[in-house]
């Protein structure tokens, strides 16, 4: 296959995949929502879960974006240093976003800042947003696509704590964000926490945290313990679906971390709404691919 053809093929696949994930939730999210639904006794909470289930069924059947806010498109790329289309990926993903926008159809969500004009294509300056990790000695590429909707993006917050505030301060920060601003962000939420050295490193890690599967744990024992404690604690607050009170608040809490400066604790929170639309796809060097997030998906 010549390079032009390869670029075209991968663009088509990514356009279809980007459109697909706006219509159907990934397996982990779907399973967790089904589980949380069974715990509800509050009539309003039950009514909302019923609407959610009916909505996902209708979106699948009618082949439409399940939520009208199909977000700003973000791609998190983990590319092998020897992936044959490494240099073309940026162009591929830009065109894939345009393709998905027509195909979905997706809502037009790219507004050029300062000019304050909607581009109408979901592409603009540095949008789709690309986040890169290069894997040495690998010739494949794994791409997470995420639809960053407005509602679930609004609670996002980062700060830098002093070491004296410790992980106790991290706890305060997470609870404050979720109980004040998370209520409006379509709970039950998937809460991503970055614990790191500065505001922007923590923010990036907090977003990576919500790309991790619901129910997965951090490899570090203390971090995993804190994930569990925060999840249980937030659930005790009982925010319920749409903030209407209920048996739970969150689908889970995922923490990602890095080493830090001895004088700082960077901490950030990103939230995913119940309609947490993300997908993971793995390409091999020959561009054959496997969809990891949605079992049995056919593009």
């Amino acid at each position: 296959m010549n390079k032009d053809q390869s670029v075209q093929d991968m663009t088509d696949t990514m356009a279809k995949f980007t459109s697909y994930i706006g219509k159907r939730l990934p397996n982990d999210v779907k399973d967790k929502l089904a589980e949380l639904r069974t715990f509800e006794t509050n009539p309003l909470a039950k009514a909302v879960y019923t609407s959610m289930a009916e909505n996902q069924e209708a979106a699948d059947k009618l082949d439409r974006p399940s939520c009208q806010d199909t977000g700003v498109i973000q791609y998190f790329i983990k590319a092998g240093a020897r992936f044959p289309l490494l240099g073309e990926l940026e162009e591929i993903l830009r065109h894939a976003t345009e393709g998905a926008t027509r195909m979905g159809p997706l809502r037009h969500n790219a507004v050029e800042t300062f000019e304050e004009k909607n581009t109408g294509t979901n592409t603009g300056t540095n949008i789709p947003w690309l986040d890169w990790e290069i894997v040495p000695d690998d010739d494949g590429a794994t791409i997470d696509v995420y639809m960053a909707g407005g509602g679930c993006t609004l609670p996002g917050k980062a700060t830098v704590l002093m070491p004296g505030q410790g992980y106790e301060g991290v706890t305060d920060f997470v609870f404050d964000v979720i109980t004040s601003r998370g209520v409006n962000a379509c709970p039950p939420l998937l809460v991503g926490v970055g614990v790191s050295t500065s505001a922007e490193t923590a923010a990036r890690l907090s977003k990576r945290a919500i790309l991790r599967e619901v129910g997965s744990s951090n490899a570090n024992e203390n971090a995993a313990k804190m994930e569990k404690l925060l999840e249980e604690g937030l659930n005790e607050v009982g925010i319920g679906p749409q903030g209407l009170t209920g048996a739970n608040s969150v689908m889970g809490v995922n923490i990602e971390s890095s080493a830090r400066h001895p004088s700082t604790i960077g901490v950030a929170v990103s939230t995913g709404c119940w309609a947490h639309r993300r997908g993971k796809i793995r390409f091999n060097a020959d561009l054959s691919y496997e969809i990891i997030s949605h079992k049995g998906a056919v593009l």
Partner: protein, 203 residues
């Protein structure tokens, strides 16, 4: 239980007996109206191109497809975060005479005051349920201020039994989400204290 259905034009007496937590449905017209439309009316003093007196607005920015016959098709329409309109809503209610505001999440004390002063209510449609909502839109009758782009255009929808709409601010000054937030803040203190005692990793 029979469905409680509001029809536009909505009268004050239709709303007086409603309490926060009640579930209603809407038949009639529902006009999308969000950030920039509010700003244009309140800050830029531009007249709203749709008369919503006795009517209903929807904090929503839908996905709309133009069909071959030139008409618009509602693809996906769910509520957006209502709190963004808090800054404008009290004055918006007073100036436009709107009776029902549909959105997502809570709104603040200004909107609550506006609802009490002018007999209006705010209701929550379940967020993210946008295809469900789109199937309850019979027709898009008009589209105004299209220069604002797809999310911000005022889409005039004819709807039938649109809901569930959960009353979150009633005409008596009650605010469901604010009440809930007070409960959340009470509960969080004990949870936080317990967690803190177990995360003293810096020793």
């Amino acid at each position: 239980m029979t469905k409680k259905i509001l029809s536009t034009p909505i009268k004050d007496e239709d709303l007086e007996d409603l309490n926060v937590g009640d579930v209603v449905y809407l038949t009639g017209h529902l006009v999308t109206c969000r950030d920039v439309a509010h700003r244009r009316l309140i800050e830029l003093k531009q007249e709203l191109p749709v008369d919503v007196r006795g009517g209903a607005i929807f904090h929503a920015g839908p996905i709309v497809r133009k069909k071959e016959d030139g008409k618009f098709e509602m693809v996906s329409i769910g509520p957006t975060t209502s709190m963004r309109m808090e800054k404008f809503e009290r004055q918006f209610i007073a100036e436009t005479g709107v009776k029902l505001i549909v959105g997502k999440g809570g709104m603040g004390p200004e909107t609550t005051a506006g609802c009490k002063e002018n007999k209006a209510v705010h209701a929550i449609f379940p967020g993210g349920c946008a295809v469900l909502a789109a199937t309850l839109v019979e027709e898009i009758e008009r589209a105004e201020w299209q220069d604002l782009g797809m999310p911000e255009t005022l889409w005039v929808n004819r709807v039938r039994e649109f809901g569930p709409l959960i009353i979150s601010i009633d005409t008596k000054g009650n605010n469901l989400i604010e009440q809930n937030k007070a409960v959340f803040n009470e509960r969080k203190t004990s949870a936080i204290d317990r967690i803190k005692s177990q995360v003293r990793f810096i020793k």
